[in-house]
Symmetry: C2
Subunit: 403 residues, 2 copies
């Protein structure tokens, strides 16, 4: 029993920490409770309740299903739900009319066949990528409303009233959701995506920075890890899915803050992809530094200056880039930093060239190890290349934002 008690306490502590770390989650929960309480007023006020004829539970259902943490996701679900319900409602009334004309015997057959065909087609459309990203939820609601209205037609006499009530309750629910989500501490997906990108850039530059310190240790042969910052690039590796869904929801948001309605969200995905390929390189670098083969002292000394210069200049270039994306303007110093980075790379190239003078062909072991030592420096070239791609992309974004 004490083991169970411990588990429960651990669980509660975890939940409490989560709430304390991100108060917006707590606010979201309160918003859900608020919206539900407001929508239940429909039940408590007799004129409203009679107006929708006992179908008020659809409004509650809409609120529960549609309410999402970000504005974009909620708008996406609301619009999908309203459009799909209207479309399916009209279609179902049409099918019911056709079925009722075809006589008592064929009525169930016609209804059943139409449900079968339309449900299959709508389910199939959910697999198509372009439909999935925009109307996945809508297709599900379409099937739902169509089958309920069409099949109910067999038993319910006032079918048109049913469809009408369903649509009006859904509109009550969705408009309430939109009001609550946009007025009480709104969380915009676009804003989230923007800050995620900036945060990832910062992490990347921190990782490069940490790597820079790691290289220093590598050159001075001192030990002592600074893992926290070094591991930052792992977040960059795993953030693909959340970036995609946020960019998807951000498309539905109206203009807010510094973002317009048709903000180029897809550019953020491109930046994300470039950052991930940078992170792959850092991953490979890491395994090189942590490998057991160590370079010879003389080689290390020879290369350390230029190599450190490359890593620090590329780190500061990414940091500047993050800053300029954050402020959404083209930073005047970024070109300078890139120049600096490129010249550092040039210098490294030259150092590598002059390295061979140092090599003594008779000391085989040292030479072999020097090859290992070289890996990190050569590896940095793709990083630099990617950094310049990054810079290009961000310049393009800034042009778009500026216009």
């Amino acid at each position: 029993i004490s083991g169970l008690g411990m588990k429960v306490r651990m669980f509660l502590k975890q939940a409490w920490d989560m709430g304390a770390n991100d108060p917006r989650k707590v606010i979201h929960c309160i918003k859900v409770g608020l919206a539900l309480t407001i929508v239940s007023l429909v039940y408590f006020m007799r004129p409203l309740y009679d107006g929708v004829g006992g179908n008020a539970m659809w409004a509650i259902m809409t609120v529960v299903v549609v309410f999402e943490p970000t504005v974009g996701a909620t708008l996406y679900k609301c619009l999908n739900r309203v459009c799909a319900t209207c479309l399916a409602g009209f279609l179902a009334v049409g099918v019911h009319w056709i079925a009722s004309q075809s006589g008592d015997r064929f009525e169930p057959l016609v209804v059943g066949a139409s449900v079968f065909i339309l449900a299959s087609i709508a389910t199939f459309s959910r697999f198509i990528p372009s439909v999935k990203s925009m109307f996945d939820y809508g297709a599900m609601i379409f099937i739902l409303t169509f089958s309920i209205v069409a099949i109910s037609g067999y038993r319910v006499d006032k079918l048109f009233d049913l469809a009408h009530q369903r649509i009006s309750t859904i509109i009550i629910g969705t408009s309430l959701c939109i009001l609550v989500i946009m007025l009480v501490c709104p969380i915009w997906s676009g804003q989230e995506l923007h800050s995620l990108t900036v945060r990832n850039m910062d992490k990347l530059s921190d990782s490069l920075d940490g790597w820079f310190r790691c290289v220093t240790q590598y050159f001075t042969n001192s030990n002592g890890e600074d893992d926290q910052k070094l591991q930052g690039y792992k977040c960059v590796l795993s953030s693909k899915a959340s970036e995609e869904s946020m960019a998807n929801f951000a498309r539905w948001e109206p203009s807010h803050g510094r973002f317009n309605f048709r903000h180029p969200w897809k550019q953020y995905l491109k930046i994300g992809a470039s950052m991930r390929s940078c992170a792959y390189c850092i991953e490979a670098l890491n395994s090189c530094i942590n490998s057991e083969n160590q370079a010879a002292e003389s080689i290390k000394k020879h290369l350390s200056t230029s190599c450190l210069k490359v890593s620090s200049s590329s780190s500061s270039a990414i940091k500047e880039l993050a800053e300029s994306v954050k402020k959404m303007n083209k930073s005047p110093t970024i070109d300078l930093l890139v120049e600096e980075m490129n010249s550092a790379v040039e210098e490294l190239h030259n150092d590598l060239k002059s390295l061979s003078h140092l090599l003594n062909p008779s000391t085989t072991a040292e030479n072999q190890i020097s090859a290992t030592g070289l890996v990190p420096f050569m590896e940095i070239i793709p990083v630099v290349t990617l950094a310049s791609i990054l810079i290009e992309i961000s310049a393009r974004i800034e042009a778009l934002v500026g216009s």
Copy 2:
């Protein structure tokens, strides 16, 4: 108008191709249609319809919402839905009883407050990772049922009947879904996860193989790309999210085929992670080979044999590993292949050591370039390390499967 026609035709062609490529998607659509048509029989048969008192639409809703392509996902949703509905139904009846004891004036207040509190708590619990992976859907259904039943209590007199009908219609819907999904061409998440892992391993080994051919070209200076196989590792990079969700759903599946109920699904995630780190290395290798710096002829010749041996032996080791995971037994030759791979790596090391004899300290340019040429060979060491981790993990799985 012709532009629109083209677009529509393109869209239809894309849909058709998708259906032709994966007939299981089409079968899934037909299954959805089938389940919906069967559930609508509830409406057409009078005794059944009267039994659930006009609440038959809940059964339709359950089918639409719960039906997922794989057995695991459907079972997860069904179990969550039934448990959450029962729990919420009982709680709501209890709250209604308390509220009705507190007098007419306080009744709306008590109901409203309980809805607000429970909805907030349930929403908060959806953010906790361990709850999210197991009961995300259940928490939503809990809020839904609780609010509908508790608030309806204010207007509907026979509240117990409402809760009872809702639970029985949901049980009708879920049991029908489970029957249809398991009897008509079932698609098991566990099976899917297994074949995805095998497929990814094959792709990885193909990529290594393609890279092997690429290295051959690199050594012989011939051009000619074989991109198709080479790009296979990119699938490995991007399959994290789908692996996780499949492993999550696979936990809910009963034993099927060669998989038991408590199959170690988490091991697949570990294999996936190892494969991804392999793929990162391949990515880094790729950028090395495609870089503009080319190694000198003499160095290339010297290293080509041992390097090719390493890449081909590691590729065949992964292929053998894929084969043994597929058949779920420990292959007798795998240890031999690993030995072979390790000896190939040893050989490469020795070749690197002897390389320095070839180096002429006066030809600086050549030496510098040789360093570039070395990168791919040193890079292979992490790949080999990771391959051995892979082998260890798979050996562990096989022990688990064998027991």
